[in-house]
Structure formats: structure tokens, C-alpha cells
Subunit: 240 residues, 2 copies
């Protein structure tokens, strides 16, 4: 133990920052991701139950400590994989949380990410998640979370609203074919307001982001709806 500590000290000597100064000691970095989905018009977030102290038994967002050999975003993805088994998820950074005592143990700064998962993957993942103590919570039914994760989640939700009107995060929610009413339902769930069907269609079609597949399929209504899919390369455009 002590030899590794001494090695540490040797590595650090020479930096402008003096490791002996306790002003700087024992800082760490959390990478935290709020993973959202929309099912049946309900916006949901993925939470994990903590198995260890601190906050043992509490629900928290997915995340953990950054490793020294990985970039931030890779750390966020690794934590998601380790805690929930989810792979191949795209995440976008949206904030930093560094309040003095956000971790009761040592000084931790949290770099916060947003991810989204389409509802088909939600169904497939449901069993996997159950065994790893993870579950989806409707965003208006989230319990008090460990650490400052309620604060991070509130901020993530605001940011999700911003991102969905100006980025390609949507494509992650609809990797396959979809109808415009379906897409509109997701917008309405996330933005928490009703939109006009005609104006929504007009705007989506005018943005040149989606292709008509020629197919139709039933969604909620009785009349089959035209199917669309996102173009392969979509630019990030402001929608509302």
C-alpha cells in the first residue's frame, strides 16, 4: 500500500500542483448518465439501486467513478454497461455538478450525460435490468435519489427538452420506421404539451430529415399511418 502511495507522489512531483497540499488531495470524477425513454406517451428514466454505502438501497442514475485510462464519454458508457448491461448507447454531455459535499466521502465532481433508448430496446432489456437492480421510472414518479441525483435529473430533463428540439437525439429514439403521429407523441411527452398535427407534419417534412418509406402500419388509430425513417446522415437542426 505504502509503496504504491510513494510511487504516486513521485509521479506527481514536478507538476505546478503540489500533491502534498491537502487543498488538492483526493479529488475524483463521477460520470453520470440520465437514460431516458418514452413508452406509451410516458417519459421514463432508468434508475439503479445502490448495493453499497454511501446511499445503500437508494435509487440513483447510472454512473460511477471515471477511470484514468479512459475518456470521459467512454467512462460514462462503461458505467452504463457495467451497471445495466446496455451497450451501444449514444450519450451527450450536458452539465457539471461540483457542489462541495455532493459526495459524503470525498470531493467528487460529476460530469453529467443524457442518453436515450428506443422503446423496443426497453422491452428487450427489461429482464436484464431486473437482475441488475435497475428499473424504469416515470419522470413524475421518481423517488428521492442518492447523492445529488435528483438535481442532476431535473437538469437533465430540462436539457432533454432543449436537445429534442435541436439535435439528432430523436434518431436514437426511432432507429427504425415510425409514423408521424408516433413521433409527435414522443415530442408531446418530452415537451409536456400538445402540438398541432398539421403543423407538426408540415415542419417535420420541410426539414428534410426523414424519408417516406412507402409503407403503412397501424399505431394507435384504426387507420394505418404512413411510415417514415430518419435519413442516414442527419444534421442537427432546430425544430421548434
Amino acid at each position: 500500500m505504502l509503496t504504491s502511495v510513494i510511487k504516486t507522489l513521485i509521479i506527481v512531483i514536478g507538476d505546478d500542483m503540489n500533491v502534498k497540499d491537502k487543498l488538492y488531495k483526493n479529488q475524483g470524477i463521477h460520470v453520470i448518465t440520465a437514460i431516458f425513454t418514452v413508452e406509451q406517451g410516458i417519459t421514463k428514466v432508468l434508475l439503479v439501486k445502490r448495493k453499497n454505502e454511501p446511499f445503500k438501497g437508494d435509487w440513483i442514475l447510472t454512473g460511477g467513478a471515471l477511470h484514468n485510462d479512459e475518456d470521459l464519454i467512454d467512462g460514462a458508457k462503461r458505467e452504463i454497461y457495467e451497471k445495466t448491461g446496455i451497450k451501444d448507447i449514444e450519450v451527450e454531455q450536458f452539465g457539471v455538478f461540483g457542489a462541495l459535499h455532493r459526495s459524503p466521502v470525498m470531493r467528487m465532481i460529476a460530469i453529467a450525460y443524457i442518453g436515450v433508448i428506443d422503446s423496443n430496446r426497453v422491452k428487450i432489456l427489461r429482464e436484464t435490468l431486473r437482475t441488475s437492480n435497475a428499473d424504469w421510472f416515470a419522470i413524475d414518479k421518481v423517488p428521492p435519489l442518492g447523492y445529488d441525483h435528483n438535481e442532476i435529473l431535473a437538469s437533465a430533463l430540462m436539457e432533454l427538452q432543449n436537445k429534442i428540439i435541436s439535435s439528432n437525439i430523436l434518431k436514437s429514439l426511432f432507429p427504425g420506421d415510425f409514423s408521424l403521429p408516433e413521433l409527435q407523441k414522443v415530442y408531446e411527452a418530452i415537451l409536456d404539451k400538445k402540438l398541432d398535427r398539421r403543423n407538426f407534419r408540415k415542419k417535420m417534412l420541410s426539414l428534410n430529415l426523414i424519408d417516406d418509406t412507402g409503407d403503412t402500419a397501424k399505431f394507435e388509430g384504426k387507420k394505418p399511418a404512413k411510415q417514415y425513417r430518419f435519413k442516414n446522415e442527419i444534421e442537427s437542426k432546430k425544430i421548434f
Copy 2:
């Protein structure tokens, strides 16, 4: 030295993050601020010359290592004060830089801030800054900087353009009275494009952010210009 190290280890035992695991050791947090001003239509950034290794002799943005007893934003302000003598500056966080080897010595994550200073304070500060090895650089004449600060600065400039069209950062640039042509010049410098005089005036007046002082004063032209000032409480509004 060793006793302090042992104390550290004891403090950390019990966290979910095991300090003995070198995956997590020796992480630190930089707080970096890009401080801008506009003088005579030129956007400038404040740089400081490093006195120590690494990057000794290189120019960098103001900043340094976060202390354990301060919030992020306070750390950013403290670093500004220590490195340049500037007090009473408002800063806004805009990004995170965490590439693996951005510091050659140990794993450092940088939390990046933007600040602005009005040109009157620039004049007052000029001597102070000189003695502390700090100077203003026109943004198109910035030398290669230490660390990843060129990257941070490029990102800060983009963010400055976003902020100036949607936030009250302007008030920091014009704490006192100003004329609309003066204000317009600053916009044009930061956004790097010409604006129409009539439309600019129309928009600024319609936003209800500024008051007519009733005074006039000369700026660049021969005809005295009406003076305005920002209202005490201004909301963050989108301008362009």
C-alpha cells in the same frame, strides 16, 4: 508526508471507490476561464504566461487546480484573482475538457468558464496585468497555448457568440451608460459580421432590456448619440 497519506487512505475507506485501485488515483480538476473584452472593435482574450513547468514560458488561459474547500465557480474566480488581480468578475460555465493526456503530469479534467470585462476596466487593469505576466491578445493573434487551451479558447469563442445573443453577459461589457452604435460595434466584433443599424435599434428597444437615460454623448461620430443603460434586473433573452 507518509502520515498525511495514511490519513488520506483512512478517510477514503468506505467509499464505493477504492482509492487503492490505481484506476482512480491522482485525478484532479482544473478550473479555466477565458476572459474576453472588446476594445475598438477588436475582440480580445486575456492570457497569462506560465512561470513553472509544464509549459513554462507558454501563454495559457487563466486558471488552475480547484481547491477542496471551494465550489467550482469560486475556484474559477479565485484563480482569476490570484493570476491577474481581477476581482468582481462574473463567469459562466460552458464546457468540460477531459481528454486523457491534456495534462502531461496527471489526469486532469478542466471545467471551463467564460468571463467578460468592459473596456474601461481593461484600461485600469493594464499595468496590474503587466506585472503579473498577463496580457490581452486579439483573438486572431493568439499564439499556440500550453495544455489544450487553444482548443478551450476556440470552444469559448463559439460559446461567447451563443451567449451574447441569448444572455445578459452584455451587461458585464456595458456596466455604465452606452450608445446603441457602441453596443452594435461589440456585437459586430464578437459575431464577426455587420448588422443593420435600424434593425439593431428596433430589436434592442423592443426587448425591454435597456432604458433611455435622456443624455447624449459622442462616440465615434460627430453627432452625439443617445445614451442608454441596462435595466437593473434583466432577464436572459434571446436577441438574434
